[in-house]
Symmetry: C2
Subunit: 71 residues, 2 copies
């Protein structure tokens, strides 16, 4: 019944020339720890950062983040 946000940032990073967390962080204007945290679903990013990320990878935001039920 509860839902949780998940993402496929890691997959996208590797599809984009095996971009490192640090490089992605730099491109987004945040620290690499922020990238690591959202990639590991430690906490969700702000909506703006989510959009920036999707933009950067030329993806639709709903193709990067999903809101699915978990047990």
């Amino acid at each position: 019944m509860a839902k949780q946000i998940s993402n496929n940032i890691r997959k996208l990073r590797f599809e984009h020339d095996e971009m490192t967390q640090a490089a992605l962080a730099e491109a987004l204007g945040v620290t690499r720890q922020t990238v690591a945290a959202m990639e590991g679903n430690k906490y969700p990013p702000s909506l703006e950062l989510a959009f920036k990320l999707a933009d950067l990878f030329d993806e639709d935001i709903s193709d990067v983040f999903e809101y699915n039920e978990i047990n």
Copy 2:
């Protein structure tokens, strides 16, 4: 060059039986002021609230929120 998040919550509210801000807030589990604020682009909602909202209206999140350039 700068981008800004916008939304069509108001339109969606009216398409859904002219739902009031208060009714939407109740359904989302937030106060109506939160709905008013995000509807008026005062500030973006959290990613989770954005997803809840899209879910409620059975829309894709990118059909509710857009990240467009503003002059």
